[in-house]
Symmetry: D2
């Protein structure tokens, strides 16, 4: 069973994670993990903090000579901006953030007690954990990518693009957007919002290719992979919606237009010509790429802040202005990949188990042969 | 900690559930539960099975004189249509259902081994469990309703309706739709689809009012209530998308148009005039009603079946035609309420604990006072 | 992941269990399960109830043609003695039972609200669940037996007996005792206690043979099999101590007398000539038989009851006299086997996973080959 | 819900832990934690390592101004002896340790891959986590102590001692033994074993006073506190037996001699004059002190090593000689306290919940009043 705990505040000493359940024998490339951490910090429209932090992962345990030994991995990312004990109190909650509900729940008149851990800074550790899971999954031929499909009202057109085109284009884009024309409009949209002291959200798509049929199960609600995947991405700060495949569009269409007809060839086995189900049927993978489409709300911290109330005086005021981005959809999309990577790695280990990578692969290959011989 | 397991096949002897963690002293009204079971079986566009089954709950344990004693509740719903061992094999998987992925995963050439448990029949038990959770929540002033917001391309207009109007209208509708004009169009839509041997999906909204601020937590990803709620509804068969509040719409708007400004009055405490966040900020309830918007794909079993492949011969064919509905969005919406009810009851018990309803209430009232005195 | 919930009161309608996670394709022999249920009801010194109940298991779901399909198994054992709603209140707590702590915790002045579920009657379902797990384990060559090693002060001498001798002798004994001479003395001991209106406890040993090295893990405390096994048996009502191997004896000896030297032959691979570790080193199985030694306290319900206090009047009185046994160590020993069977089946599925018995076996055999080739 | 993960190897860079679920507002005294870490390193009979390491805890997150904020606590203990990547391979497994089973499970020919994490060094983090839990529990008046009751064949006589006497005497003893005469004999026993190149185990008792009735529950096997406590202590490396109260002695006595008669006074409420149950009835605390008695086997690493087999050559040889202690029962006893502290803190939070210490206390005091008014 794969599991993790993470810790660390936005302006605390560091972020820490412990990932338990990775089989022995996985070769870890720290540089690749750092590249993903950097990826999370990029994107047009980010604020000052991204210039302060240059996240680098330190693996404190669980490795011998760069290979996992089956023991828990302790992970650490230093915060350059460590000053939690000297930062001033915050008394004016920002609408859209954890501030007010958190102050009430944790019964504190200093919102900093809440926002430091509630901050999206914590997602850096989530990306590090996802990066290790991705390394694991790559050994099974799984590729996970994501791309920004909209910023504010500007939508990208990528329906005609292949997996590799999307990956290639998004990698070169300042906004992780695979549609170059849309990218330009998105940059204007961000510039305009910035000028107005406002913020933007958007949507992004996560695709995981190379996943065999049969992960997850329809036999108990909490073993369904659709539920687990949506919990994974919906629990990312600011994500407020998730579709599997063509979610809302499918709901507005007839069954004959929606369901993916089944075909067979001796070369490919069973296959589909369409993938409106987003790779999930009955809560299981069906062998087609997993496709998730997510909505991120606009950043909650505004330069021109919204009306709020001082929690000590109860007087009307404006929300606190913490250092923040105008738009962070590309970063959120990177976090989304990481969340999916953890969820999928867990699903692989639930189905194939194994104390060593060799054992997991042996079990996996036995299953592939079973599918082939079906 | 509240938890449950459920069991039972579509044409098996019965459905069974065990719900563990309900405090002692909860008065159970079996009639109310049966009303909810009936509610799940209704809705224009349902098939023949709904006439066969008249679901009634039997509570086999955990009660003395109609009150819970803190012991696990064993629940049973009989299947009138019990014939699992005599039903014929199924060899042609239905696109959109668990059939193919399930046959591969469970390595069976008789899809019935899979579809019997993967069937949405299992949601009857989920409704029963949700009904008990709802009874629990009502003691804390929580009201959960749902209504159908679209069938196929027909959308209801309910933005201007109050909670009570929505409830009232939906209760009287044959489609659980609060907009009478839309309801008529929806019925035509269903008739047309039926004639075409096709099926329909749609969307529905779940609203939970009366929930205090501070359930869930932003401090660890798997304690966030947004993640838990989306897993709860996404794991309902055929649900393929979920929005919290104005999910996708928010993603296309600026921050200043999205975030719900904070106000205060001595009578109400902190409050909002808008609820675009759908009652959740930072993964916590913020005191406003919870609002989830879900998409259900069209029924996967079509009268005019889609192309498929016989899993034994590998020859092209058409999908099996199991008895089915044309449209089941109102039923799905009832299941959605139940899923939310369980998830919320668990969140209440996570926060307020208690071995007796009296203890849970005492803890809850202490918290309410803390909020009031904040 | 294997898991279960169980429900049901002593004088309720029935006991219910749901076992989730059994792979598809396991052949279930209901007669064998019923034999184990009967076994739990036997033993010299049992009370009247054992004559009333003749436990028979009903499997309500999860099977098709007597084979598991991978779906949750719903299990039911009827109570012949169903009268929970008409039985009188109990106000005098029995020392040694859940009565007083339970009344305080669940805030009830009628102890029946507590004792009905706290009763050891619930162990019948635990035996049923264990019986299914045993069937699963037998497919992997695992044999689990137990025998009574002491009743009161009378100890059996079985050190020189082989596994098969212990099994054979215990099976023929009225007290599940492998030492015939001791058995006679034990029966006198029970008769004496009975005459005195008193009760007896004792000890029993559980042995599981055929388990490969490498179940459990030393890498995280909650993955150690020694911890899981002791929780499994210690949570059986009335069990108050557990030793793994020669627990307390080992603590009084020197290391050189305790640790099991390691040998190797090409036929057997690594092996030991002694098994003082009870088959567990570093929280893992080491390939030798698992040996647990457990202590059961005397039955808490005495014919000549102990001093107690009426919880309503607070007056001194004597404990309530519920129908009860004088000695139930043989039954407890059967429950112990079942608890170990569940725990081990879970460990097998944690390590070998599999959605079908075929897949679990394929993975298992791959591991056996790895051990052989080591 | 309180939970933790820990990580770190014996000669790795450090030990790391993340403790999630501690309410906000707990004042942490780092010095007290360090005192407990030191306590774990003491005891006559310890080896060279204890002179190298002087464990000090660093709290990396979860605090602001020395108080918890409800966020996860990240904990770090540096290893002075960091050299995991340069240490030589180990090929001769030590009987009694994880070496052989671990090498087989993790399929490695270098036992160091296993022993580094399987080492009892990991218990330092367990003590740190227990120390925080103890701080939490002290706010509720809970006191947890332990003392060594036997080393090898030498037993302490402490039956007549009060809780405070045991605590006082054990604190002054070089072996955490409350019986001064026995202590002297134990030291000779250790000296003799050392001279013989051998090792010793022993027994210890853990007592937790100040716990109210009603923690744990008899209503589901995995909610029983006896099971949870025994898993907690049995999962400590080298612990091979655990008794609750007078476990094995009770099994050899009659019911009337075992069960603790119930008394009542208006001052004390319900109480007992004896505590043979060790504070647990029906899997719940009964208001009397919790008493656990544990057996630790002798250290597995011997100066005069036992017969073993080289896992590469398969030739007979002797076990590897890693640096080790002769006897570590006092240290194990400290770890036992920590394991119980975590288990109890979890039980408090399961029953009383609370996001702040204030809320937990409010709920707790409401319960105390309920008990008083019963």
């Amino acid at each position: 069973m794969l599991r993790y705990l993470s810790a660390g505040e936005s302006h605390g000493r560091c972020l820490v994670g412990i990932l338990e359940g990775v089989p022995a024998g996985l070769k870890i490339d720290k540089k690749q993990i750092d590249r993903e951490l950097t990826e999370r910090q990029k994107g047009y429209g980010r604020g000052a903090r991204m210039k302060i932090e240059k996240d680098r992962l330190k693996i404190l345990s669980g490795l011998r000579k760069d290979r996992t030994i089956g023991a828990p991995l302790a992970l650490l990312i230093k915060n350059k901006d460590f000053k939690i004990d000297t930062l001033p109190s915050v008394t004016c909650p920002r609408p859209g953030h954890a501030d007010l509900a958190g102050a009430l729940k944790y019964d504190t008149k200093d919102i900093r007690d809440v926002l430091e851990r509630a901050s999206a800074r914590s997602t850096a550790m989530r990306v590090a954990i996802g990066a290790i899971c991705r390394t694991f999954l790559e050994g099974f031929g799984v590729k996970i990518i994501s791309h920004v499909s909209a910023i504010g009202k500007v939508r990208a057109q990528t329906e005609s693009f292949s997996f590799d085109q999307v990956r290639h284009n998004a990698a070169k884009s300042r906004l992780k957007c695979a549609d170059k024309i849309a990218e330009k409009l998105m940059i204007s949209e961000i510039n305009n919002a910035k000028e107005a002291g406002d913020s933007l959200g958007g949507t992004f798509e996560i695709i995981a290719a190379g996943v065999p049929a049969g992960l997850g199960s329809p036999f108990h609600w909490d073993r369904r992979l659709d539920g687990a995947l949506s919990a994974a991405v919906m629990s990312i700060p600011a994500v407020k919606a998730v579709e599997i495949g063509a979610g809302f569009l499918n709901a507005a269409s007839r069954g004959s237009e929606v369901h993916d007809a089944i075909f067979y060839s001796s070369a490919k086995g069973f296959f589909r010509k369409t993938n409106r189900a987003g790779g999930l049927e009955g809560g299981m993978t069906n062998g087609e790429p997993l496709v998730l489409h997510c909505a991120m709300k606009p950043i909650a911290t505004l330069k021109k802040p919204l009306a709020s109330v001082n929690i000590r005086t109860k007087h009307e005021t404006h929300a606190a202005v913490e250092r923040a981005d105008v738009c962070a959809v590309p970063a959120c999309s990177v976090v989304g990949e990481a969340a999916v990577a953890f969820c999928l790695a867990k699903a692989y280990l639930d189905k194939f188990a194994g104390d060593t990578i060799g054992e997991t692969k042996r079990n996996y290959e036995g299953y592939l042969k079973q599918l082939k011989d079906f």
